[in-house]
Amino acid sequence: MKPIQNGGPWLGPLGRDADVVVASRVRLARNLAGFPFTNRASTAQRRDVVSMVQERSRGAAWGRMLGWIDMQACPAAQRAQMVERHLVSKQFAASDAPRAVGISADETLSVMVNEEDHLRIQAMYSGLRIDECFEAATAFDRGAENVLDFAWHHRWGYLTACPTNVGCGIRVSVMLHLPALRLTSELDRVRRAAKELHLALRGFHGEGSEPMGDFFQLSNQLTLGMRDEEVVGELRDRIVPEVIRYERLARETYRSKAPAAARDRFLRAAALLTHARLMPLDEAMKLLGRLRLGIASGLTEAIDSTLVHRLLLQVQPAHLALARPEDPMETLEQQSAARASLLRDALAPLRASIG
């Protein structure tokens, strides 16, 4: 895989409610009958699972759209880049067992083979587009089940290694940008409400990650006793719109109560991003988040949120290293210097506009 310069279509500007929702994702967990789950499978069995999935999916249109990457043969830097692009999980990239990932050319569909489950089928789109994600993931699933036997139980439905995924095996996640809720200390209420509704609110990179730049992933926890359409519908129609409404209200309140502070916050972020010589990752994410809020609030027209989304990826360590092979990045300081330089270049129009 080449170092990717754009943000991938799922990080584009398109999609409904893009002022708050960055991207949507649907993931289906499936296992092959007749094999132990990945945690219990031998190296030979894991190899068999990879080749079975690859061979059988190559025979049909739904499978041919994937380009396969053998993770064992893939250099660490590129594996890290795929994690940063949300194409594979951190654990999947770090394992040294036989495993592979199939990725569609536009990166909207990726299928991890031998993650915690034999198949993790995931589809991602920008903005609030859960339906498109669900359709894309389901199309692959429906195609795959014609040629693969999925592990199934009468009582528990689709079987998965972890009890938290049995049933329909679906995980719907929405990546949200919630700066105003964080700023007005309302995020705790969202967190509590999410917990009551059996939802998880996690950081930028999902499970086990820290919130960076006020980006959060909201996802369902329950997969049993509900049809997958119900899980999708619940988030799409009830929960996400409510969080969006709440965030917009907080933004409006902040803008009207403290217009000077809102503008100052944006300008400070812009000034740092366009002048700093060293830029650590967490600071870059935080400041880019503030730019995104400034753009959504109409504080600048010099740049748009597509650029911010692209930068959110490009400032990540593996993206940075792969895009600048000539830069020495042996230390965090060198990495911070490269990041600062990238940001200054990319945000030149913003620098000109703020004078």
Partner: protein, 160 residues
């Protein structure tokens, strides 16, 4: 790093594994104190029930992959599809705990599966569970199993 519950600096960083899901909690001194009081006790009842139903000291393990109940409890992951029958009822309880009490799947089923075969094996297993539960006078378990049998009989046959 800030506390998850407020803006004070976090002093306690706890990795919690719940139902196999790992998450890290960052708390300030005050919230950490409150948190400790709210940590739910893990249900020892599952152990007791398993001991009752299987005979004390017997190691419950899966014939398919060799996974023992202790290993399942430790890692929170099943080893193969057969574990879901072999490690029952402990695994049933783990699932129901992780799934907000839901007791059975509803919705889509895969197109390809030897439905009749799997069904009759599952039915036989449930009947066995029922006998053992009644013999051990664990009537609440017996009621659960009867529910599962009812659900099985009510579920439509899938087209193979």
């Amino acid at each position: 790093m800030k506390c998850d519950q407020c803006d004070k600096p976090a002093v306690v960083h706890e990795t919690v594994i719940s139902g196999g899901m790992q998450s890290t909690v960052h708390l300030c001194a005050e919230h950490a104190a409150a948190h400790v009081q709210h940590v739910p006790a893990t249900a020892p009842i599952a152990d007791l029930l398993v001991a009752q139903l299987t005979g004390q000291g017997t190691v419950v393990s899966c014939g398919g992959c060799g996974m023992t109940l202790t290993e399942f409890r430790k890692h929170g992951l099943a080893g193969c599809p057969s574990c879901f029958d072999a490690l029952s009822p402990a695994i049933d309880q783990a699932i129901q705990r992780a799934q907000g009490g839901a007791s059975a799947h509803c919705g889509r089923a895969p197109l390809r599966r030897s439905d009749a075969e799997a069904r009759s094996a599952y039915r036989a297993r449930l009947l066995q569970d029922l006998d053992r539960a009644v013999a051990a006078e664990r009537y609440e378990i017996a009621a659960e199993v009867r529910n599962a049998l009812r659900q099985l009989d009510a579920a439509p046959e899938a087209s193979a």
